[in-house]
Each structure stands twice: as structure tokens, then as C-alpha cells.
């Protein structure tokens, strides 16, 4: 496999514009691409023999609404101690990141034997639209349909952007963080109407295991310790 540092140096010399940040973590190279430059960068990554990313491995949507928010603050104890259960917290209105949604692409080159991850942050939450890469990699067809279905992100230029995984007539985008895990409607057979009816869910959403972010010394870096 090509060393990621070499790959990063080559990419930086080939792309003067379009790349917001490039970082290497865990031996994986991640490029954050400006949304308007996505198609340029992608077609170059595919066609340049040095990169030769001919295979689109995956397209994935990410919703950063609750990023870094835990259910259970364990830093301070109240006089009554910890409660035994955790209530679902109301939506917190301060997203940890400026861009709520991102689309992540994983690419693979068979000839050069290297991988890369591209990330496109969607700046405007009211216009969730990204250019479709289907003309560059036909494999993007179903991946983009899936992201549209689950996150409601639109892909400009996709010829057939239908829902893929959810039911016919489904309302909402279930993988968004503000969509409840138990869903919004439940179906039952109504004997009087003699048909299946949809009603709001009757069960209460519970937190079974609280999400905990430990800020103990194993995970806090030394610089934070000193402050």
C-alpha cells in the first residue's frame, strides 16, 4: 500500500484549490472538499494515473446534531447522588459543529492500492444539496439514494433519486438524530375499518444505557489537563 503521507503530498501538489483541510488519522487520509469543487476533485482523483481511484467503495451521510453531547453528566454529583434512570434529554439547540450534515465518500484504487476518504460539509441546513457523483462512478446510484432516503440530502444531477430502504409512503428521514429511534407511527389492523391504520407510537421512548463521555485522564490530553 502507498504511504498516506506520500499520497497527501502528491494530492496537495495536484490540487491547488478545492480542498479545505487534509488530515491523517489512524493511517487514513481524509480530505474535506468544498461542495462546489466536489466534481472537479473527484474526476481528477479518478482520472489522474497517480491516484486512479476507480472504485467508489461507499457513500455515507452523517448528522452531527448531537455530536459530543452525552446523556449523563458524571463530572459533578448532586446531593442526592446519581438518579437511577436517565430521561431522554430535550433537543439541545447548540450543535457542536457549524455544519450539521456531511456526506462522506470512501474511495479505493486497485492499481495503486490506496484508499482515501472525502468529506463534504453541507453549509446550508435549509438547502441540503450536493452534486451527484454518479457521472464519475455509476456505483453512486444506490448509495446516494440511500443517503437521500435516510438523511434527506438531495443530490444534484442524480437521474432517479427515489427512496431506497424505507417503506412505500414513509414520511421523514429516519437516520437524522432528531428522528426518534422507536419511530413516529405504528401500524395495526383496524377491524372496524377493515384496513391497516397508522397511528402515533404508543410506547414511550426510553434510554436503556446512557451515553457517557468520560473526561478522565486517559482521554484528556495533557494540554487540557494544565488549564
Amino acid at each position: 500500500m502507498t504511504d498516506v503521507n506520500t499520497l497527501l503530498a502528491e494530492i496537495q501538489s495536484h490540487f491547488p484549490a478545492g480542498i479545505e483541510t487534509a488530515q491523517i488519522a489512524l493511517d487514513e487520509l481524509t480530505l474535506t472538499i468544498q461542495p462546489e469543487k466536489l466534481l472537479d476533485v473527484c474526476s481528477k482523483l479518478r482520472d489522474e494515473p497517480l491516484f486512479d481511484f476507480k472504485l467508489l467503495v461507499d457513500v455515507c451521510g452523517v448528522d452531527y446534531l448531537h455530536y459530543g453531547q452525552d446523556d449523563w453528566q458524571t463530572n459533578t454529583t448532586t446531593v442526592t447522588g446519581f438518579s437511577r434512570g436517565v430521561l431522554s434529554q430535550p433537543e439541545q439547540e447548540s450543535p457542536a459543529r457549524p455544519n450539521r450534515f456531511a456526506v462522506v465518500y470512501h474511495l479505493l484504487s486497485l492499481s495503486q492500492n490506496h484508499r482515501i476518504r472525502l468529506r463534504v460539509n453541507i453549509p446550508d441546513e435549509k438547502a441540503l444539496i450536493v452534486d451527484s457523483v454518479m457521472d464519475i462512478w455509476p456505483a453512486a446510484n444506490w448509495y446516494e439514494r440511500e443517503v437521500f432516503d435516510l438523511f434527506g440530502i438531495l443530490f444534484k444531477g442524480h437521474p432517479d433519486l427515489r427512496r431506497l430502504l424505507t417503506d412505500y409512503g414513509f414520511i421523514g428521514h429516519p437516520f437524522r438524530k432528531d428522528f426518534p429511534l422507536i419511530g413516529k407511527v405504528e401500524a395495526r389492523y383496524d377491524a372496524a375499518l377493515k384496513c391497516v391504520v397508522y397511528e402515533p407510537v404508543s410506547i414511550e421512548a426510553r434510554v436503556l444505557e446512557p451515553k457517557v463521555i468520560r473526561r478522565d485522564n486517559r482521554y484528556v490530553s495533557e494540554s487540557v489537563d494544565k488549564t
Binding site: 476507480k54 467503495v57 452523517v62 448528522d63 457542536a96 427512496r163 429511534l181 444505557e209 451515553k211 463521555i213
Partner: protein, 421 residues
């Protein structure tokens, strides 16, 4: 009326979702012109369970069992991809013995998967006998699953940091019943007298002969070749563009296998070959998979030999992640606290993102994991190997006859657990 020829329209009909050859719940909408397929539009999602969203609400280890249920004919390989992604984020490496056990069970899983595929593929093309032969061998391999994990299918055996427990020294035995007397039971238990490794070794001695049996029935069978040769051809360039991996790509002649090209665990120390096809039709994909079973058999034998010689730990001893031994919990306060924290809260995975891929029997199985430093994944994305294959079905069968839809579809090796997730 003489000047107006009758209007001929394409006919659109449903294939599935309840069809024995749809390999699960596939609703395939076919548009045909006479007997020729003009367009195929697969409707998937009938088995969608939102596994990835469920994972966001549970500590990391609780999701391992859900991974088994993705591609429910290659259970441990799914676990492997997920566990590798967690290990990458945690920055831990399992002990070498655990790596060998994982590789051995990955290959057992590959044989399990290919056997079920071969059984279903031959049945779809009209051959009943191979189905019965394949299930005879699957039975032994599922016994290996059961011996090591207690479950025949959904094992939940791999853990971040190793595997749940070491290989057992004894195999479970058949018990006499009113249907089988002691003599018959003794015959059934004959190869179960030793350890699990002895049982697997015995299997690998028999298995190449079994593959010969399948091949004797199919490889040069005229009907088999008529149904599969030059059906569903895909060129290597097109297969790459459509995101094909695994036997679908190797069938078209691209020698791409993550076990060789981007080796994980101990694959770089094992000796095996990558079978490739030439034409890229259903027949080539059949030959590739049959040969992969022989190669897997070779790998298993090497693993058994190594595992016999090298005892050792199968789990890391970092009790922040792994569970302390039961005996220690009885006497050590620390161990009991670790047990309590591990069971109630799980472990914290450092903030970051990782993508781990393995060579799954169906292709590249990847897990993209985003962690925000909590005890649950922030986002889990499973790159199912079969997903792009089914997406490319329209291209594979356009222009073929209706009967070829079944051959091509089953040559993709589709399992809806992983496509719908």
C-alpha cells in the same frame, strides 16, 4: 384495420417479494419485451431494520450480535469487520492466537457462505442434489460454530481485543435416543472424540473430496453450462465502475483480494492463491467460488497446525476493554469494578473516525465508525458487499431472457440481511 398493426407494449411484472429464487425479500420489477428483459428495477428495503441507527443507542459491544444478523450466512465475517473498526479506534491489537482463530473462523465462514450459495444457485438452476450435498457439509461447520460460541448461527464470538474464549478441548457428542441406537451414535461421534481442532482437521481432510463431488455434478454438466456460460457478463472496467468487489470482481479477471493486497490479521503469513475468472459470466463466478472453497480449506489447515503448536491468550488483558476472568472477580476488588463498569457502561472509544474493511465471502465488507468519545458509536455505516452488486443487476440482465434473471441473480450471492441492513 389492415394498415394499423396491433399495438405491442412492453409487459411489466413483479418478481417477488415472495419468490423462492428471489433469495429473500426482493421485489424485482421486470419490464419485458416478449421474453427479453428491457429493464429491471429492484425494490429493496423490505428487511430494513435500521441496524446502524440501533447501534447508535447501544454500547459498542452490544452491536456485535447485530452484525451476525446482517449477512446471516457469513456471521463471523461481519463481526470481524465491526470489531476491526473498534480496534482501530482504540489502538489495540489482539494476541496472535486470537488472530489465527479469527482467520480460521473467517475461512470456515467463507466455506459456509459459499456452500449455501452453491446450494441455492444450483437449486435455482434446477439441480436438487447439490443442495443436499452442500447442507451435509454445512452441518459440520455449524457444529464448529456451536462448539466455540454456543450458537449455530449468531455467534457473537469476536470481541474487540480478541475472541470471547479459547477453542474447546472437547466436541459436543450426539446422545442415544429412541431413533438412534448406541452403535449408530458411536459412528456419528467417531470424529468428535478429540478437540475442536481435531474435528476441524478431520473436516479439512474430507472436504476437498466433497468439493470434487459438487464439481463432478456441475462443472462439466451440459445443462449447467447452458444455464450459466455467457450469462450475465460484466467486463472488468464496468465491474470496477459499478463498485463490484469479491468474487464478482474476480470472476471478471481482476485479481483483487484484500487478504493479499491489504492483509489484516495474519493473512500475510499464510499460503493461498486467488482464483480469477476470464469472461466474467455466471460460470466464471461459479468456478471462482468453488476454487475459493479449496483455498479456504488450505488456510484452515495452516491455522489448525499453528493453533495446535502455540497455546496462549486469546484476549488482551486490558480490563478497561476486556472482561477480567471470573475467578479474579471473586477475589479482586479491581476486577469486580471493571466487570461492573464493562457490563453497565461499556468502554469509551476515543474521538475519531475509522474505516476497516475485510474480504468478506461476498466482497469488501467495510465498517465506517464515527466516535465522539462516548461509550456508543456516534455513527456506524456498514458497507455491505452485496449492495453494489444488486444495484448493478439491471446492467447484468438487460437483454437476457427471463430464465436468465434467476441464474444471474443467484450468481450475485445476494443476502438481504446485509443489503437492507
Amino acid at each position: 384495420m389492415k394498415d394499423n398493426p396491433p399495438e405491442i407494449r412492453n409487459y411489466v411484472f413483479n418478481f417477488g417479494p415472495q419468490h423462492p429464487a428471489a433469495h429473500g425479500v426482493l421485489r424485482l420489477i421486470l419490464e419485458v419485451d416478449g421474453e427479453t428483459i428491457v429493464r429491471a428495477d429492484p425494490h429493496v428495503g423490505l428487511l430494513h431494520r435500521a441496524t446502524e441507527k440501533l447501534a447508535e443507542s447501544k454500547p459498542f459491544n452490544h452491536t456485535i450480535g447485530y452484525m451476525d444478523r446482517l449477512d446471516y450466512v457469513s456471521m463471523m465475517c461481519n463481526e470481524h469487520g465491526y470489531v476491526l473498526a473498534i480496534e482501530k479506534l482504540l489502538g489495540i491489537t489482539p494476541p496472535v492466537r486470537a488472530q489465527y482463530i479469527r482467520v480460521m473462523f473467517d475461512e470456515i465462514t467463507r466455506i459456509l457462505n459459499h456452500l449455501l450459495w452453491l446450494a441455492a444457485h444450483s437449486l435455482d438452476n434446477g439441480g436438487m442434489a447439490v443442495f443436499l450435498y452442500c447442507f451435509r457439509e454445512r452441518e459440520d461447520l455449524l457444529d464448529c460454530y456451536e462448539a466455540v460460541s454456543g450458537a449455530r448461527m449468531h455467534a457473537t464470538y469476536y470481541r474487540p481485543g480478541g475472541v470471547y474464549r479459547d477453542l474447546p478441548d472437547t466436541m459436543p457428542q450426539y446422545q442415544p435416543s429412541k431413533w438412534q441406537n448406541a452403535k449408530e451414535i458411536a459412528a456419528l461421534n467417531e470424529n468428535r472424540q478429540g478437540s475442536l481442532l481435531d474435528f476441524i482437521w478431520d473436516f479439512t481432510n474430507r472436504f476437498p473430496g466433497c468439493v470434487d463431488e459438487y464439481e463432478a455434478l456441475l462443472t462439466n454438466n451440459r445443462i449447467w453450462k447452458q444455464r450459466t456460460v455467457n450469462i450475465g457478463i460484466i467486463s472488468p472496467e464496468r465491474a470496477i465502475a459499478l463498485g463490484f468487489t469479491g468474487p464478482m470482481l474476480r470472476g471478471s479477471g481482476v485479481a483483487w483480494d484484500l487478504r493479499k493486497k491489504q492483509p489484516y490479521e495474519v493473512y500475510d503469513q499464510l499460503d493461498f492463491d486467488i482464483p480469477v475468472g476470464t469472461v466474467g459470466d455466471c460460470y466464471d463466478r461459479y468456478l471462482v467460488r468453488v476454487n475459493e472453497m479449496r483455498q479456504s480449506n488450505r488456510i484452515i489447515r495452516q491455522c489448525v497446525e499453528w493453533l495446535r503448536k502455540n497455546p496462549g491468550p486469546v484476549m488482551i488483558d486490558d480490563y478497561k476493554i476486556a472482561m477480567p476472568p471470573r475467578e479474579e472477580m471473586k477475589i479482586s476488588m479491581e476486577a469486580m469494578i471493571h466487570h461492573f463498569k464493562n457490563m453497565t457502561e461499556g468502554y469509551i472509544v476515543p474521538e475519531g473516525e475509522a474505516y476497516a474493511a475485510i474480504e468478506h465471502p461476498k466482497g469488501e465488507f467495510g465498517v465506517y465508525l464515527v466516535s465522539d468519545g462516548a461509550n456508543k458509536p456516534y455513527r456506524l455505516k456498514v458497507r455491505a458487499a452485496g449492495f453494489p452488486h444488486l444495484a448493478g443487476l439491471n446492467e447484468l440482465i438487460r437483454g437476457h431472457m427471463i430464465a436468465d434473471v434467476v441464474s444471474t441473480l443467484s450468481s450475485l450471492d445476494i443476502v438481504f440481511g446485509e443489503i437492507d441492513r
